[in-house]
């Protein structure tokens, strides 16, 4: 099992930049306003420096009034622009994030089947869940502050040079120390951040496995084992976080050393410059105040570096999903001519021996064919291959005479549906669950789809009817009911070809018969390939194909195969406990133990 890819910094930036560029007007206005807000913050230290000089040179009260008005006016302007800027920047940032998370989910939903089978669902879930949440909270909570701080640093540095270039240079003494601090810190912390992210992935995997399997955890008294697993993975993540912060705290000390050097440099340089009558005391004061004013923004940038790196790692993981192989859509060509399904010389192997070997099979439009075979005979694989969900390692699958490879995922899916063994009830209103198959279906169409599969009666009897919330923590549906919903979705999706893989198997005991009726109703008029576990499903089919070891060993009608006395006849006898060959294959019931 592989972890999903993580994008490099360049690809991550490219993704962000391409999204920001889609909002050109808003982005520019937001940048101008937030810069204006930071610039307005520069007025105060400069005005204070002027005040010191005014007082040293014995100015009158009007100078003080002027300074007060200047600082007050700048404060109001800064407040206004900050409020406005934060809103505008958030509008850009949050819109970009919303678009990225939508893209990521879209891509996660569209992963090609061979890729999907190799990724850990936990990892995929943590990308669309955890990582989206991490990036969102970083953006919402620290984004505005970070941007404001960065702008203040840049503008203030400019302001210091405007006062006097020599004072500016003295302040710049701090720069190499900041750089050295970063160069010390980044290579040391990066591997730990990477380890921390992996540890967090393991942690959510442990938590999700426990939550999803909680019934089994309780039955087997595995609480302590699972809690120990969560404890261990969470403790690893915790210790890594603490270790990362320890490195960060040393880094922070280095930042303080840089502050000392910068501030000391300005004051000492100021001492000599004032002694040489090159600058005024006011200018030295303003420069020192400017530099002092940078402590917090730089501190903020450094303090937030953690969260920025975590968010950046999260963003890289999101961008990584977007880097994954996409289902390629082939050039448009002719569509399927009819509802036939043809497998020609199909072979398939999952990194090992052939699971399906040289299978050729043609289903005429409207024909119902049942696949029969023991466990491991390759039925499920063949079903997935026939539905175009898996790509065979040898041979061709044709829908209406067209190779599915040339048809592409979307057109294949509108031609053929696969109902797999997995039954998932989507959380939300029951009608919305069914409507996933066709979003624009009216209430009437949803009802008639449910009616057709024999589900409308019990659906109407639910507490809120069609609007009853179902799914994990909504109203609990039985296995048979969940399966009927799957059939209703199939009816609504309305593909000409349907592949049912043990679709009624999960139903449990007594509902099986009504489910079989539902399956027949849902696939009425469709070309149907059905993986039969219950041999009655085979009995109802137009033709039965018996698989063994990935090969077709028998093919024919129910009666024909019983008469032939081969593999199928053996299976039928073992399953029903009947002797084959009686009227319609049924004789007197006998105990299955005989």
């Amino acid at each position: 099992m592989n972890l999903l890819p993580v994008a490099g910094p360049r690809a991550t930036w490219a993704l962000l930049w391409s999204e920001i560029r889609k909002l050109p007007g808003l982005s520019i206005v937001a940048a101008v306003v937030i810069t204006g807000g930071s610039a307005a913050g520069l007025v105060a230290p400069w005005a204070l420096g002027a005040l010191v000089d005014d007082i040293s040179s014995g100015a009158d009260r009007s100078a003080i009034v002027k300074v007060v008005l200047l600082i007050g006016g700048a404060a109001l302007l800064a407040g206004l622009l900050t409020a406005l800027g934060v809103m505008l920047v958030a509008r850009v940032g949050e819109t970009v994030l919303a678009r990225i998370r939508e893209k990521v989910l879209d891509r996660a939903l569209q992963l090609p089947a061979p890729v999907l089978d190799k990724v850990r669902t936990g990892d995929l879930l943590s990308r669309v869940g955890d990582d989206v949440a991490t990036v969102a909270s970083a953006l919402t909570d620290i984004g505005p502050m970070l941007l404001g701080a960065a702008l203040t640093i840049i503008l203030t540095a400019g302001g210091m040079f405007a006062l006097d270039w020599r004072l500016g240079l003295a302040g710049l003494l701090a720069l190499p120390m900041y750089i050295l601090a970063l160069r010390w810190y980044l290579p040391r912390s990066a591997p730990y951040y990477a380890k921390e992210r992996i540890a967090m992935g393991d942690r959510s995997e442990a938590i999700i496995a426990s939550l999803r399997g909680s019934a089994t955890v309780r039955a087997y008294r595995l609480e302590d084992v699972q809690l120990a697993k969560i404890d261990a993975t969470s403790a690893t993540a915790r210790d890594l976080s603490i270790k990362v912060f320890r490195i960060f705290s040393f880094f922070s000390s280095r930042i303080n050393h840089a502050e000392f050097v910068g501030l000391g440099g300005i004051l000492v340089a100021g001492f000599f410059l004032v002694r040489g009558d090159l600058v005024t005391i006011g200018a030295v004061t303003a420069a020192a105040l400017y530099f002092h004013r940078l402590f917090n923004p730089i501190g903020a940038v450094m303090m937030l570096f953690d969260e920025v790196q975590t968010a950046a790692a999260g963003m890289a993981r999101l961008a990584g999903v977007l880097e994954m192989e996409q289902i390629s859509s082939p050039p448009p060509g002719p569509g399927p001519a009819d509802a036939s399904l043809e497998l020609i010389g199909i072979g398939h192997a999952y990194d090992g021996p052939l699971v399906v070997d040289e299978v050729s099979l043609r289903l005429e439009p409207g024909e119902r064919v049942a696949l029969v075979g023991a466990s491991g005979a390759g039925k499920t694989t063949l079903a997935a291959l026939a539905a175009g969900v898996l790509t065979p390692t040898a041979g061709v699958v044709r829908l209406g005479g067209v190779d599915v490879q040339a048809l592409g995922e979307d057109r294949t899916r509108s031609q053929v549906a696969l109902l797999s063994q997995e039954v998932h009830v989507f959380s939300g209103a029951l009608a919305d669950d069914v409507r996933l198959a066709r979003l624009d279906a009216t209430d009437g169409e949803v009802e008639s789809a449910l009616e057709r599969v024999g589900a409308l009666a019990w659906v109407r009897a639910l507490p809120d009817g069609l609007e009853t919330v179902v799914g994990e923590q909504g109203h609990q549906l039985t296995g048979a009911q969940s399966q009927q919903l799957a059939f209703a979705r199939l009816v609504l999706a309305d593909p000409p070809v349907a592949v049912l893989d043990e679709a009624t198997a999960e139903a449990g005991s007594a509902g099986a018969r009504s489910l079989e009726r539902a399956a027949v109703a849902a696939t009425e008029g469709r070309t149907t390939l059905i993986v039969a576990h219950r041999l009655t499903q085979a009995q109802q089919a137009d033709r039965i194909v018996v698989l063994d070891g990935g090969r077709v060993v028998e093919s024919g009608t129910h009666d024909g195969l019983l008469a032939a006395g081969g593999r199928y006849a053996l299976l039928w006898r073992s399953w029903t406990g009947f002797k084959p060959g009686g009227p319609e294959g049924r004789t007197t019931p006998a105990s299955a133990s005989t």
Partner: protein, 551 residues
């Protein structure tokens, strides 16, 4: 546990680290506050005079100040972070323990939401400690700055001391609005996250019918709703930032005006003027920090609320105190039990008996399983396990006696072997009995992602092997062979009878292969026991039974 209690407990649990950490962080802020004063002294004593000796003293003073400042933060912040990390870890485990409580939980939350609570809400709740520490430190900075101001000039100091609290109160007035919007926004984010995990969880189902595009469209809708909620919350936060920037700037203007006037009159020196305006300017930062701390607190509070609702959700069922069952009494006895669809059901399992139950309506099977598994909360009649009423039995004693394996088998990450839970010399024999002989060679194969890559039949047969290996006094199986082919089903039925011989087993199934191996079969229709007997007899004489088992 209420939201407030949860937050207070977080701080109390780590009081040692927290108090030392807060002390050091406060010392750090005090030294930060001393920096502008030091700049003032530096300008006054050295820059303005041009003498070299005070210059040397001033440089040394500055160096000492920075040494304290730097180390206080380094040590203090480490303590706080350690406290936060440990608290997050503890909260996460508490949530997990609550969710996995053997008595069940009724939070009504989806596993995506629970995951988000166990991860991101636990993290955010622990941030209360960050809010407390930076809040305390910022308050210290304000106090040190105020005292310094009072030492320079009393009326000036008093003015600042009145101005600053007014400022903080003004900003705080906006907080309830922010908390409300933040809470709505966090809920929207949690819902969108839950939707994403739900859709990805049902990915194979979606792809089968080509509904990925529709699912993506539904997610987009939810994402856009969340975007709107976030923008509302951020606008409020922006308003708060703007107001706090404007007010602290106005305060600075007032302080600069008054102290400039005092300096002009010669009441304070130039150095003191610098210190005063430097301090007034510095004050804007701790005031801003207090605003930020209140935002963090609002976030922590919102998360703690969700955490508290899970932690204080009542268990699904109550547990009793009896720890032993009477081996002489029937292992399971249901007397006139009514629950959901069940009506007055009587069922007794004697020791060593193997009983099949055939339910015409699957809802009866689910109800019966809930009753037998001790998961039914409001039933009438009597359920006794080894003579002890099931409600009076300790949950662990119950689970020691009764094991329930469902047909949809949950597996965990590890290997096939680790999923079987028990190392036993009879492992291969039991695997063969469970019809899983084909998996014996793959026992050490790593199993990723809860065994999703295995087929339904493989999962089911592993589940059965696991249940057989656990060898409980009473094993309850629900449809153990629904995803198993006919040939294997026959083998499995024989194996089950052999491994469980002498032990008590209840099998809810409609498989003729399994029912044929049972000592007797009980048939339930419309919640009522309608008939009972040997499979062979029932299959011979009862038309409805025939219809149900012969499928």
């Amino acid at each position: 546990m209420s939201t407030g209690q949860l937050l207070r407990r977080a701080v109390r649990r780590h009081r040692g680290r927290m108090s030392l950490g807060v002390l050091l962080m406060s010392l750090h802020q005090a030294t930060e506050a001393a920096v502008p004063v030091t700049i003032g002294v530096f300008v006054d004593k050295a820059v303005a005079t041009g003498d070299v000796e005070p210059l040397i003293w001033c440089v040394l003073m500055l160096a000492a100040l920075f040494a304290v400042l730097s180390n206080a933060w380094k040590l203090g912040a480490r303590l706080i972070v350690r406290a936060i990390e440990y608290e997050t870890h503890q909260l996460r485990l508490e949530i997990a323990r609550r969710v996995l409580d053997p008595r069940g939980q009724r939070t009504g939350l989806r596993s995506g939401e629970l995951l988000s609570i166990a991860t991101s809400d636990a993290e955010k709740t622990a941030l209360v400690m960050r809010a407390v520490s930076i809040g305390c430190a910022a308050s210290t900075a304000l106090i040190v700055a105020s005292v310094s101001l009072l030492l320079v000039d009393v009326p000036l100091g008093i003015g600042v001391l009145i101005g600053v609290p007014l400022l903080v109160l003004g900003i705080q007035a906006l907080s309830p609005l922010l908390t409300r919007h933040t809470s709505t926004q966090q809920e929207a984010v949690a819902q969108t996250t839950a939707l994403a995990t739900d859709l990805v969880g049902g990915l194979r189902t979606l792809r089968g019918i080509g509904a990925q595009h529709n699912a993506a469209a539904r997610y987009r809708q939810s994402s856009q709703t969340t975007l709107r909620a976030t923008l509302r919350a951020v606008s409020t936060a922006g308003l708060q930032d703007g107001v706090s920037t404007a007010l602290s700037g106005l305060l600075l203007a007032a302080v600069a005006g008054v102290s400039g006037w005092f300096a002009l009159n010669g009441r304070i020196s130039i150095g003191e003027l610098i210190a005063v305006v430097g301090l007034a300017q510095f004050i804007a930062e701790p005031v801003g920090t207090l605003g930020y701390a209140s935002q963090v607190l609002a976030t922590a509070r919102a998360s703690a609320g969700r955490l508290a609702s899970v932690l204080s959700s009542p268990p699904l069922v109550a547990t009793g105190t009896a720890t032993a069952v009477d081996p002489a009494k029937p292992l399971l006895q249901l007397e006139r039990v009514s629950y959901k669809t069940l009506v007055d059901v009587d069922l007794t399992l004697l020791a060593g008996e193997t009983v099949g139950v055939l339910c015409y309506d699957p809802r009866d099977a689910d109800a019966l399983l809930a009753v037998v598994g001790g998961r039914a909360s409001e039933y009438t009649g009597a359920v006794r396990v080894g003579g002890v009423p099931i409600d009076e039995l300790d949950i662990d004693a119950l689970r020691d006696t009764v094991l329930l394996e469902q047909h949809d088998t949950d597996l965990f990450e590890g290997t096939l072997r680790s999923n079987l839970l028990v190392e036993s010399p009879s492992l291969e024999r039991v695997m063969t009995a469970a019809g899983a002989a084909d998996l014996i060679d793959e026992l050490d194969r790593p199993l990723a992602d809860r065994g999703q890559a295995l087929s339904g039949g493989q999962r089911q047969r592993l589940g059965l092997a696991r249940a057989l290996l656990a060898s409980p006094p009473l094993l309850v199986l629900h449809d153990p062979s629904t995803a198993v082919d006919a040939v294997t089903e026959e083998l499995l039925a024989e194996g089950l009878a052999e491994v469980r011989s002498g032990l008590t087993t209840l099998v809810l199934t409609s498989s003729p292969a399994l029912l044929g191996k049972m000592d007797r079969v009980v048939v339930l229709a419309d919640g009522v026991v309608v008939t009972e007997g040997l499979h062979a007899e029932l299959a011979e004489s009862d038309a409805a039974y025939q219809e149900a088992v012969l499928r």
